[in-house]
Subunit: 497 residues, 2 copies
């Protein structure tokens, strides 16, 4: 920002107190304006950046972070160009090729947890242990959908997580196609006894996913006998994309599955021409009692403040299709890789770096909730909670939730990633497994990358190692390691609101 | 090109006689250089561009083509902005939603042919008729593949066209993974009694497709009991891509199917780690006697040279997955649309514009071969054969095979598409259904577009209307109509070599 007038100074100053100014602009203001304002601003800076126990100015913090330049370069060199390159990819490939997908309640998830426990032990990490969690056990069984009218066609489906099954003979019913919950409300009298098909357009995941989570409940409220949801996906090659759905007390439970974008659009076209559509849906889905599982934990114990924690994480469970390589094998394995890289370089952060591989994230953060309940008494010692669960493709940057003070610090930390040109800090660092902490005031960070690509494969048979790229994982691991190490090693914890 | 020296003149002149100069450069040379060279070049131009019966210079031909500017604009306006916009898309959607996929030998193909016959009649086109063709009848039946070792996993497959089936109990055998025919040769002693899995990388379709067409034969030669081919595809969401394969006399016939890119890569990784892979393959595929089918023909009969023909075409058959909307519904329907647009504008080209909707292209141009044999006596009257069978997305331009003279003319014709910015002429206008004519010397043209996108959906369950875009089809139809009309209406046929 160039300062062109006193009026502009005043505006900056005003914004400053309104906490709307971003800190880059603010720092430029501090550096380039006249002395009085400079001193005044510096004092205010102290006021804003001072942590509970801190007497330091932001300038001092900035200098502290800049001193990590060499360490960051060493981490990047090791992860991207050195002997650790492709390690997270290869470790991940070995696990997911060996055990396959890892649905909550499945034997393969528990096998994966045991393998990871061994892996982390053998990697020489500290305090490797499993923390017991009770998790849901749902199985899809055999399932099929056939369009009987206006012509016969097998349709690709995937039952949604927690859905009940159909009777063995299936449910055969006429279809009501709607493109929104609003349209369903308007046409409620037509829904009774029918299979409701949702052909909602894809806006983005967080907006559109409500049709998957709530579609069955809304359809059941108006008397439908089943619901089929257009897959929540950015792109499709006739690929159904599953995920969790949620029944509601007092509303009848009806079977629900996702269909492909292609079939949803085709059925919309058919009904617009006056065709009557009849589908036979068979689902062998079943909910079983909860089973025992574990969050998998490993640490590099803090050298100066061992009770203080920077948490890095991804989830080990997946849906029961594909290999769960992207969601969230990638996130879990760059989190492990972050600790491995730091350990390889003989670094000993002042705070404890804790790796958590969550269980049963896909069922609504079940492992994460139980972890939070177990550990929340120590919440004042959590400096930063990090989760990678939106892909480990070439990172665009870091998503962050926290106070303005903490955000300014994270921007300085991300400057250390300049050698691989990943320096941006975006809003909204939330994620299913870290939200409990974020909502309680702990700063949180997520890795951001190409979400169009992510939601092309998400929860589909296509979530395999083929979607992954070792070089992109190297870059993601470097970001993850630099951020977690620097925040764990800085003199002070990240300031909260 | 600016002329900067006599030396450069000489070079242009030399190239001219070597027929290496492109005609744009040549024309600029003619217009801007001194009079003697101008006259000399003009005379040579006559020599080069003179058709058998032509006394015209290229300049005269160029001026003739330029006079079609208003007609071209009218076609574009009608197709892209006018009342015909989205018509080819909507006509196509209605057909493929109604009949679904259209495999050679299937009832749905014959239903589609009958519907198209009616459509073309009702559209008011001339000489609408069906030309009988005997076509192959293969059905895939039920099919499945399960990896039994090193772990259990169902694998998505699609049997390849013309493959035999397995015994009812399936074929259970160890896998040999190779990445090329060369590797198969080197490891021939290991292949006996095994299922050969090809994990060849995707270079481009024409290079890589040999693994699909010849994979079973090469595997059988070294004693394999079945072969599984990595799908020939530019992109995958765990999508198998089928297609024809060819047995060879004297080589045992073994069952063959495509697998996904994902599973092929996974099995390569597994064997590189020393895993033994066992697969159980079940295929109910069966070849039946040839059945009756038809090429579907309609015309706008030439007003001056009715015996002379410009042929526009696409194929009506498809594979038995998806809707065959892209391959080649799009090509067939923009070809129909070309005639509809010309008819709507009350245009009467001098030559006959003939629409042919081929049958059984996917089985190796079966309908096209029989058409060629039936009509080749009239070959001297074919000015141009056009086929759209590589997608009807936003066109990049026209692919063309023909003499240099004809190519120079086609470049002038494509200038008429400047209003929609599709003016390029590329090499190699060949296509399965027009190659018989091209190889016999008739100029041929194909529509070029985004082949990465095309081979993402090609021969897969994802070849549906969702892959299609009405606006892109409008542009493709405009190109198709302008090119076919102008070439059919010009005073002379395209010159041959």
């Amino acid at each position: 920002m160039e300062l062109k007038s006193v009026g502009l100074h005043e505006k900056v100053w005003r914004d400053y107190f309104r906490k709307k100014t971003n800190w880059n602009r603010k720092m430029k203001f501090l550096l380039f304006t006249f002395v009085g304002a400079h001193l005044l601003a510096l004092n205010s800076g102290k006021a804003i950046y001072r942590n509970d126990n801190s007497q330091r100015t932001f300038e001092e913090i900035r200098e502290e972070i800049a001193r990590y330049g060499d360490v960051a370069k060493a981490i990047i060199d090791l992860a991207v160009y050195g002997k650790a390159q492709n390690r997270s990819y290869e470790r991940l490939a070995l696990l997911v090729d060996t055990v396959g997908s890892r649905l909550s309640g499945s034997k393969s998830l528990e096998k994966a947890i045991q393998i990871m426990y061994q892996n982390l032990k053998e990697d020489g990490l500290e305090n490797v242990h499993l923390e017991p969690v009770k998790i849901p056990h749902w199985e899809r069984g055999e399932e099929s959908a056939v369009m009987l009218e206006p012509r016969m066609q097998k349709m690709a489906i995937l039952g949604l997580g927690s859905s009940i099954g159909t009777p063995p003979e299936g449910i055969t019913a006429e279809v009501l196609v709607v493109t929104s919950f609003d349209e369903l409300q308007r046409r409620a009298p037509e829904a009774r006894g029918k299979i409701v098909v949702y052909n909602q357009p894809y806006a983005n995941y967080s907006t559109t996913v409500k049709y998957r989570t709530q579609g069955a409940v809304e359809a059941a409220k108006v008397g439908a006998v089943a619901s089929l949801i257009r897959s929540v996906a950015s792109f499709s090659i006739y690929s159904p994309h599953t995920g969790i759905q949620e029944y509601q007390d007092g509303v009848p439970q009806i079977p629900t599955a996702c269909i492909t974008v292609e079939d949803a659009e085709m059925m919309s076209r058919m009904v617009s021409r006056g065709n009557r559509i009849v589908i036979q849906l068979k689902m062998g889905a079943k909910n079983y009692p909860d089973v025992d599982s574990f969050n998998t934990v490993a640490e590099i114990i803090g050298s100066k403040y061992p009770e203080q924690v920077v948490l890095v994480s991804g989830h080990l469970d997946s849906w029961d299709v594909g290999q769960g390589a992207m969601d969230d094998g990638g996130g879990a394995f760059i989190s492990w890789e972050a600790l491995s890289l730091i350990q390889d370089l003989g670094l000993h952060p002042k705070r404890t770096l804790r790796l958590v591989l969550w269980t049963a994230e896909e069922q609504g953060g079940v492992g994460a909730l139980q972890y939070y309940q177990l550990h929340k008494a120590n919440i004042s010692n959590y400096s930063l909670v990090m989760e990678s669960d939106a892909g480990t493709f070439l990172p665009s940057g870091l998503q962050f939730t926290g106070s303005d003070k903490a955000r300014a610090i994270m921007k300085e930390v991300m400057r250390l990633l300049q050698p691989i040109n990943v320096t941006q800090v975006f809003g909204a660092g939330d994620g299913t497994d870290i939200n409990f902490w974020i909502q309680a005031g702990v700063p949180g960070a997520s890795l951001l990358d190409d979400l169009y690509k992510y939601f092309s494969f998400h929860h589909s048979h296509g979530d395999t190692m083929t979607a992954m790229d070792p070089k992109q994982m190297n870059a993601a691991a470097a970001v993850w390691a630099v951020v977690s190490y620097v925040v764990a090693d800085m003199e002070e914890m990240l300031p909260r609101s």
